[in-house]
């Protein structure tokens, strides 16, 4: 239901509906700002990035294709790319790993409102992530939500570059297989499951 609402909002935004844009911003601003802050580690830069992300979403709402990704994923991917650019261009220091770890820790215990909002999708991700070896999990979180390169993960974790790459790659592969499994089970069992996350 939530995803369908987002699709409808983006459709209205593509037609220039500013009220739809306002609802879209209200719905996603905490997550967009949170991601921008996770990558940049700086409040002012994160605010710039988050504002620009919504501006891009507004301008390019017509290009959003719900068959390719959810609106949330689309918006967060835009945010993440902008945040990575901001860190690179402004040469500001990326977020401190400890702060990232703390942020991830906070994400592990979402409040009732967040659980209701994100539903099983988010819980499934958290569970899949928690099944990774801790060193792979750290490397992957730094590389995804933290927007770090392999070199930066290597430096932050004090491990050789090759090890950092191996950890990120292994974690991504393992997570991909893990996340694919529930969908297969649900498709086999009933027609209900896949649509739930849409």
């Amino acid at each position: 239901m939530h995803a369908a609402d987002d699709d409808a909002l983006l459709g209205a935004m593509a037609a220039g509906d500013q009220e739809a844009a306002a609802r879209f911003v209200r719905r996603h601003q905490r997550q967009v700002y949170g991601l921008a802050f996770s990558v940049t580690g700086d409040g002012a830069t994160a605010e710039d990035v988050a504002q620009e992300a919504f501006t891009r979403a507004w301008r390019h709402a017509a290009s959003f294709d719900p068959r390719r990704a959810s609106a949330t994923t689309w918006l967060l991917t835009i945010t993440r790319n902008l945040a990575i650019d901001a860190v690179r261009v402004r040469r500001s220091d990326p977020a401190d790993p400890a702060a990232l770890a703390a942020l991830l820790g906070a994400a592990d215990v979402p409040g009732p409102a967040e659980l209701a909002e994100a539903g099983t999708d988010r819980r499934t991700l958290i569970e899949a992530l928690s099944r990774l070896p801790v060193e792979q999990r750290r490397a992957l979180v730094l590389a995804t939500i933290g927007g770090r390169t392999s070199e930066e993960v290597s430096a932050a974790e004090g491990i050789p570059l090759g090890t950092a790459k191996t950890r990120i790659r292994a974690a991504l592969h393992r997570l991909r297989i893990d996340l694919a499994q529930p969908l297969i089970d649900e498709v086999d069992g009933a027609s209900r499951g896949v649509e739930e996350g849409r």
């Binding site: 500013q18 844009a21 306002a22 911003v25 209200r26 601003q29 905490r30 997550q31 700002y33 949170g34 991601l35 996770s38 409040g43 994160a46 605010e47 988050a50 504002q51 919504f54 501006t55 891009r56 507004w58 301008r59 390019h60 290009s63 949330t72 994923t73 967060l76 991917t77 835009i78 993440r80 790319n81 990575i84 650019d85 690179r88 261009v89 942020l103 991830l104 906070a106 994400a107 967040e114 994100a118 988010r122 991700l125 958290i126 992530l129 590389a143 995804t144 939500i145 927007g147 770090r148 390169t149 392999s150 790459k165 990120i168 790659r169 991504l172 592969h173 997570l175 991909r176 996340l179």
Partner: protein
């Protein structure tokens, strides 16, 4: 020019590519490899999809007071038309030779206005070396949306260069030239990953080019740059 990557080399870089943090030069090398390797391309797509899913775990943080109204104020303003395309990764990813030329010629025009003789001389020398007779540039647009930039250079070697950025589905696109003296001409393919990519191609005569178009995989015109008349 470094040798093409093997699958083994490329696979070391696929996670960074999927995560969008690969450096420009390596990114270009890997994308070149993906163009001829469906296995690595499929792996990249799967890795990218998994990485994107993880973004949903982003912790929610309250933005500063006034954030919402600031965003809405920006949305109320019509989008500016001037080039807002992303400099960093787009330019880094561009084909090195073409960027050198573009930078040189663009620099010529910019610095000419600023009257810095020493720099002007350097660019003039560069242009003379290239036999440059004309350089035209125009934004690739669709409606009011700015998708990228197209360059057309007429010189000893004449070429067309296209750079695209942002919010276009991944895939292989085609770059088409509209000409005043004949039918449209497909000059090169443009591979986009994460909505970004660039491509250049030497062509015979660019002075008859009236527009540069980018076609999506179905053949539909995605965006167009109407080129100014040649000098």
């Amino acid at each position: 020019m470094s040798p093409p990557l093997t699958c083994e080399d490329a696979r070391q870089l696929l996670p960074d590519l999927a995560l969008g943090v690969l450096s420009g030069e390596q990114r270009a090398e890997v994308l070149d490899h993906l163009g001829g390797c469906t296995a690595c391309e499929a792996e990249t797509s799967e890795l990218a999809a998994t990485a994107d899913e993880l973004l949903k775990l982003t912790p929610r943080v309250d933005p500063p007071a006034g954030f919402e109204s600031a965003v809405l104020a920006r949305l109320a303003v019509p989008p500016p038309e001037p080039a807002r395309w992303r400099r960093s990764r787009v330019l880094i990813a561009a084909a090195a030779a073409a960027v050198v030329v573009i930078g040189a010629v663009a620099g010529l025009f910019l610095t000419t206005r600023e009257h810095e003789p020493a720099i002007d001389d350097r660019y003039v020398t560069t242009i003379q070396t290239l036999g440059g007779r004309d350089l035209r540039a125009a934004a690739l647009v669709s409606g009011t949306a700015h998708w990228g930039q197209a360059f057309v250079f007429e010189g000893k070697t004449s070429w067309v260069f296209v750079s695209m950025s942002w919010d276009v589905p991944d895939g292989v696109y085609r770059v088409m030239l509209d000409r005043s003296d004949g039918p449209s001409l497909m000059v090169t393919r443009l591979r986009l990953f994460r909505g970004q990519g660039s491509a250049g191609m030497a062509v015979g005569d660019t002075r008859t080019v009236t527009a540069v178009r980018v076609l999506d995989p179905s053949g539909r015109t995605l965006c167009m740059a109407r080129m100014p008349r040649p000098v």
